[in-house]
């Protein structure tokens, strides 16, 4: 695939925190309609990579592009194309579920019809419909996470970056959220999702296995599994690859 087919590009990203090299030349590209999974051991650099692609911070070297534009530029066109959910997300604890959604709806400048359609759908998927007037800080851990996810899914950006969106989410909701992600990419969105769940990685169109700031391997999960000793599951492949690299 050439770069023009890719709505999200990361080119030779390097990032260092004091003595710690978090990224050491990471490159990847994601096309519209593609669901890209980013996996790797704790500390591999997943969050750093996503933050740079989201324009939250700049790389020391290399660049990121969203539809050809620099996410660091502050260009409003980039802002409206890009959705990002950080690993540590905070909502307004003293606002209710409904009020949080309404706040984010306004922030994303959604018109009334779009907002209420999206809101309905997301409340259904997250099973938070019954709890509209509960304050966010009185929600359970997983309910809070699902509300955060609902808020960041309100707009339909062209590029969506999700940093471990399903931590703490129960198996039923996790299935429903993945069904939603597949609908979104079918509509042409490009999604990058980092995850600690290897069954989720196995469902992505392509996966990048990040290790110490570099890609150890990248490709369709079934192909990677076949190429690397016919691993039965992606988790087996992950464990073998990371042990070998260590």
């Amino acid at each position: 695939m050439n770069d023009s087919a890719r709505v999200l590009v990361a080119h030779q990203l390097h990032k260092r925190f004091k003595a710690q090299e978090a990224l050491r030349g990471l490159s990847l590209g994601v096309a519209p309609g593609e669901l890209y999974g980013l996996v790797g051991p704790d500390g591999a650099g997943k969050t750093t990579a996503l933050r740079i692609m989201a324009g939250v911070m700049g790389p020391d070297e290399g660049y990121a592009r969203i539809a050809g534009k620099d996410p660091l530029s502050g260009d409003p066109a980039v802002r409206s194309m890009l959705g990002y959910m950080p690993q540590q997300y905070s909502l307004y604890g003293d606002l209710s579920v409904d009020e949080n959604l309404a706040f984010f709806g306004k922030m994303f400048c959604l018109d009334k019809a779009t907002f209420s359609a999206q809101r309905e759908r997301l409340l259904h998927i997250t099973r938070l419909g019954r709890f509209g007037d509960r304050r966010a800080d009185a929600l359970s851990g997983g309910m809070y996470k699902k509300l955060a996810l609902a808020c960041s899914l309100l707009p339909k950006p062209r590029v969506l970056l999700l940093d471990e969106p399903t931590n703490g989410v129960d198996p039923v909701s996790r299935r429903e959220l993945w069904a939603l992600l597949f609908e979104l990419v079918e509509d042409g969105m490009a999604v990058v999702v980092s995850t600690a769940y290897m069954d989720e990685a196995e469902r992505c169109h392509r996966v990048g296995l990040l290790h110490r700031g570099q890609l150890l391997m990248e490709g369709a999960p079934t192909r990677l599994m076949a190429e690397h000793g016919n691993a039965a599951t992606f988790e087996d492949l992950f464990l073998a690859a990371v042990r070998e690299a260590a």
């Binding site: 359970s140 997983g142 931590n167 989410v169 469902r203 990371v242």
Partner: protein, 309 residues
Amino acid sequence: MKDGVVIEVEGLSRRFGHFLAVDKVSFDVKRGEIFGYLGANGAGKSTTIRMLCGLLKPSEGRAAVNGVDVAHDPEGVKRSIGYMSQKFSLYMDLTVTENLEFFGGAYGLSRRQLAVRTDEVLRAVDMIEQRDTRTGDLPGGMRQRVALASAMIHDPPILFLDEPTAGVDPEARRTFWQLIRTLAGQGTTIFVTTHYMDEAEYCHRIGLMVDGRLVALDAPEVLKRTHVPGRICRVEGSGASRALPVLGGLPGVLEAHPFGAGLHVRFDETRTGMAALQAALHDKGLDGFALTPIAPTLEDVFLAVVEAK
């Protein structure tokens, strides 16, 4: 205290305003047991744990932890337990060692004990190299390991772990569970919640919560036999997502969902069978799928119980 029972819960309830978060829950946990507490988001797991740790007053019922009543002597309970909360409880601007020393000090460990225990728990969670790192600079999965280390710094006989492995990588999760099993083997009682169903397999017994009520309680093997109606087969082949709507709509199919790169289909064996499923795929021009019968997993138990409510 009943023989070997270290956690005794009877008719325990908790209300928030009119909302009943925990509804007359009763169970016992024995010394050295790994007790898994499962349920959907909002089912009442953390609320139960907070009551058992003496952090939240029960609305009704009673519970005793290590023989101490949680409502009458919450401070007494806190001395014999370690608690790892679902939310981060660490000081982000302290180093890893400083955090452990802070928690150890709060539990009354001496300087000498602190030095020994800090080293031991850091080794146990494989974080010795990061001991001088500022906790806020650690990636999420590693902070989780420090939180576990801080919960066991004082070597408590009972550990309450609320989603200890959320976001932890597969390798570290395995190491973590080896540690849990070693601790349990030495007599530490483990009360743990998780949304990873593969981890729940390590538990001796599992309690399943639905909307505040404890609806099932047994060993994983028993739950799989008794709580998953029908049979399950795995469907493998390219384009499994196209097979999903076809199979999901067939008579006798109780449930069909994606699982890894393939599908899991649960069906009523008195109404349909694997040959019929194959035939239905063939009718839609979908060929080349391999169907293999599989034993139910705890994920199947979870889905069957939670969806059946």
